[in-house]
């Protein structure tokens, strides 16, 4: 186990209230070097508040917030990070190259401008005015600004919103490259679960300001080890629902739909009980199901 003191960013017992509402209710979160962490959760779960604390934009009411062992409100701590926020209107009349040059000037050892542009796939846009770019191109420019300072920790808030599939794949490739080649840690918030599945080493699911699930994508899926079974059968749904390890059984026209934690046993018993059973489908729950399950338990 890595020592928590070696974390690049850490929340310990962080509490943030807005009026009577607790946006964060004692959250513990530590991010290790070179790790890609996805923060998931429904709206209002506390994702933005967590990021706001780690970026020093807001102050915690209680608990500790550390960025490279320092207060994130210190400039020296933030010189190691890159940021891509969900909504930030960059000056429309500046050219892409000018924006990059400005962002790079904030950092002690920035990348050469051409390297940042190449990594983000905007080398052909440097001379264009930001306001004349498409939404997806603007997102790529924002990504270039985030990585231009050779960050050791990158915050990406909904990075691929408004991008087409190809652009999204390219951005994912760039994110993986930053991690493997430079050991850059990444905090990612996203609504696209496939994005978390494709990139994240670890997923943290938040709900109502608390951590309700944590682990690798596989571990999280296993934590909600549910499988869906569908088949054409005359068996009585209420009888099946009473079988051990069946959590749901219901009829949908001719089809019987079952949710279980022990697919193999249930399938064997189904086939025994109804030799005429046809069109059997067995499907493992995805991250989406696991996510819904985890956040529903809290709600």
């Amino acid at each position: 186990m890595p020592d928590p003191s070696a974390a690049v960013a850490r929340l310990a017992g962080a509490v943030k209230r807005y009026g009577p509402q607790r946006a964060l209710d004692g959250l513990d979160l530590a991010l290790q070097r070179g790790e890609i962490l996805a923060l998931l959760g429904p709206n209002g779960a506390g994702k933005s508040t967590s990021i706001g604390l780690l970026l020093g934009l807001i102050r915690a009411d209680a608990g500790r917030v550390e960025l490279f062992g320092r207060d994130p409100q210190q400039l020296a701590a933030r010189r190691h990070i890159g940021v891509m926020l969900q909504s930030a209107a960059l000056p429309a009349t500046l050219r892409v190259g000018e924006l990059l040059r400005l962002a790079a000037s904030y950092y002690p050892h920035p990348r050469p401008l051409a390297e940042s542009a190449e990594l983000a796939g905007i080398a052909d846009l440097l001379g264009r005015r930001y306001g004349n770019l498409s939404g997806g191109q603007q997102r790529r420019v924002q990504f270039a600004l985030a990585l231009c300072g050779r960050p050791r920790l990158l915050f990406l808030d909904e990075p691929t919103v408004g991008m087409d599939i190809e652009a999204r794949q390219k951005l994912w490739a760039a994110i993986r490259r930053l991690r493997t080649e430079e050991g850059c840690a990444i905090v990612l918030t996203t609504h696209y679960l496939e994005e978390a599945e494709a990139l994240a080493d670890r997923v943290c699911v938040l709900a109502r300001g608390r951590l309700v699930g944590e682990g690798s994508v596989d571990a999280l899926r296993a934590q909600v080890a549910r499988t869906r079974i569908r088949c054409l059968s005359d068996l009585d749904a209420t009888a099946v629902a009473a079988w051990s390890q069946v959590s749901v059984a219901e009829r949908d026209g001719d089809r019987l739909r079952i949710v279980t934690t022990a697919a193999e046993q249930v399938v064997r018993r189904l086939l025994d009980a109804d030799p005429a059973l046809r069109e059997l489908e067995v499907q493992r729950a995805g991250l989406a199901e696991a996510f819904t399950e985890l956040t529903r338990e809290v709600a």
Binding site: F68, H80, P91, T93
Partner: protein, 268 residues
């Protein structure tokens, strides 16, 4: 255990490396000012009204219709319109842009990035100073070439300096407005302050023809003090010593900055 120690020291190392040489820090200030100036120079619909309004007013009242107002009118109105003209880049350059940038998330991004906070303010200040200098120069050129106001070169230099530095209190006031208003609310709020204040400070009509209450109230407005300094610069001032007006403006600037900085730190 060993890995823990080496990881911790690696991070300590990185923290030391984050100390930025002062040349690079200075570079951030320079780039911020450069970006701010470039950005607005490319927005003629923002720039031109600020530059042309005082010039048009001066052309009309200070030159074309000046003969109806007596021999001192071109100089008197030069001071008034220079004051009116440099209020705008301060109020709009800080007030409107800050309100917009708080509304559209740009300020939040910059606060999250390692931008030195002062660079942001100094960048806007550089832009406002530049605009104020250009407005003052345009008016001075008109006064010299068209109005034949008979200004001594030392008076011209003094008015240029007064006008250029005179933008600062209004930049501070703009910053205060920008820290209160957000997004699209900026321009309206700024105009609500700009135009009445110009009127109440005697920039539109001489104070002597305003009601007595408004005359006594005039020293409350920073534009009154700047106008008095501008009048003294062109050899027409008499109300109070120059340093008194400078002190009033400096105090006003400091008070606005203090309140605005507090609000921005607390609410972003």
């Amino acid at each position: 255990m060993n890995t823990t120690v080496s990881q911790a020291s690696a991070i300590g190392h990185a923290a030391a490396a984050a100390a930025m040489p002062w040349r690079r820090v200075l570079g951030a200030y320079r780039e911020e000012a450069r970006a701010e100036i470039l950005r607005y120079l490319r927005m003629p619909n923002f720039m031109l009204p600020l530059l042309l309004m005082p010039c048009l007013f001066y052309l009309l009242f200070g030159i074309v219709l000046a003969h109806a107002n007596g021999p001192d009118a071109p100089r008197y109105l030069l001071a008034s319109y220079a004051t009116f003209g440099v209020m705008a880049p301060g109020l709009f350059g800080f007030g409107v842009s800050l309100a917009m940038e708080r509304g559209d998330g740009l300020l939040m991004l910059k606060r999250a990035m390692p931008m030195p906070p002062l660079a942001y303010l100094l960048g806007k200040m550089a832009m406002a100073l530049l605009m104020a200098a250009v407005v003052s120069l345009l008016l001075l050129a008109m006064a010299g070439c068209l109005a034949h106001a008979g200004l001594h070169p030392s008076q011209m230099v003094r008015l240029l300096v007064t006008g250029t530095l005179g933008v600062l209190p209004f930049g501070a006031l703009g910053m205060l407005i920008g820290s209160l208003a957000k997004g699209q609310g900026g321009p309206g709020t700024v105009n609500l302050v700009y135009l009445p204040m110009a009127f109440l400070s005697g920039l539109w009509f001489p104070l002597s023809i305003l009601p007595g209450v408004l005359q006594r109230l005039a020293p409350v407005w920073p534009s009154y003090h700047l106008d008095q300094l501008a009048l003294q610069a062109v050899g027409l001032g008499h109300a109070g010593s120059a340093w008194g007006h400078v002190a009033a403006l400096a105090g006003f600037t400091a008070a606005c900055l203090l309140v605005a900085a507090r609000r921005l730190r607390r609410y972003g």
